[in-house]
């Protein structure tokens, strides 16, 4: 077993449940990669954007460059991660359990994005600056994705 494959297994079984090691499916590895990619890339974006907002920069196009860098970083992590996962283990198509886990996690975390959207509409009504509205929407999307991916991993390990 390669080092990378071992890292995936340690991340997914021992760290979460403490149970005896159970090899990780390609779909579960993919969820780990997405979680890390979203957390790192968009997390860094929010650190930089927060710093810019704190310095009084409120022109929305000023954030575009940072956002593009974050998206490129996200795509790089996703492509690189899946490439490594495919090299260390046999890629398999998702099965009925993977789809059920994704659907259930999505249905239980969708309210986060919905809350952000409602909040953004409320912010528009009271004429909050567009830069804050845009970041509220992006933050709710970020948190909803993190929650969905984390919940998927819980379902993979703990069961449904």
């Amino acid at each position: 077993m390669t080092v990378v494959s071992r890292i995936f297994d340690i991340m997914s079984s021992r760290a979460v449940t403490g149970e005896a090691r159970l090899s990780t499916s390609f779909a579960e590895k993919s969820v780990w990669i997405q979680l890390i990619g979203v957390a790192v890339a968009l997390g860094l974006y929010f650190v930089v954007a927060g710093w810019m907002l704190a310095r009084g920069i409120t022109i929305l196009p000023a954030f575009a460059g940072v956002f593009v860098v974050a998206v490129v970083l996200l795509v790089t992590i996703l492509v690189g991660g899946h490439l490594v996962a495919a090299l260390v283990g046999r890629p398999e198509p998702t099965d009925v359990r993977d789809r059920e886990i994704e659907g259930r996690a999505e249905s239980r975390t969708g309210w986060i994005l919905a809350t952000g959207v409602i909040g953004a509409i409320g912010a528009l009504v009271v004429a909050v600056e567009p830069v804050w509205v845009a970041h509220l929407l992006l933050l709710s999307l970020y948190l909803a994705e993190l929650a969905r991916l984390a919940l998927q991993l819980v379902y993979y390990r703990r069961g449904m």
């Binding site: 159970l22 090899s23 990780t24 499916s25 390609f26 779909a27 579960e28 398999e92 099965d95 009925v96 359990r97 993977d98 059920e100 993979y156 703990r158 069961g159 449904m160």
Partner: protein, 75 residues
């Protein structure tokens, strides 16, 4: 309303053993799911769809209730 109780038990491990020590991977390939899904079903962490349950029973050529049993008292 009282929360639903009960859980689905299965005899997949025993049936695999009785069928020439069939591996989880072999069973997974025959029913069209990943080995980890077979492992989750066997360990009671995932209740399969009716279709997958029938496919498992078909592999072992036994009735569905020979593979899966519902325990209404289980938490």
């Amino acid at each position: 309303m009282e929360p639903a109780r009960g859980s689905v038990k299965n005899r997949i491990r025993q049936l695999r053993f009785e069928h020439g020590e069939m591996t989880q991977q072999e069973l997974a390939e025959r029913i069209g799911v990943s080995r980890q899904t077979v492992n989750a079903i066997e360990g009671g962490k995932y209740a399969p769809s009716l279709e997958v349950a029938f496919r498992i029973a078909l592999v072992f050529t036994v009735p569905l209730e020979t593979v899966f049993q519902f325990d209404p008292d289980a938490k």
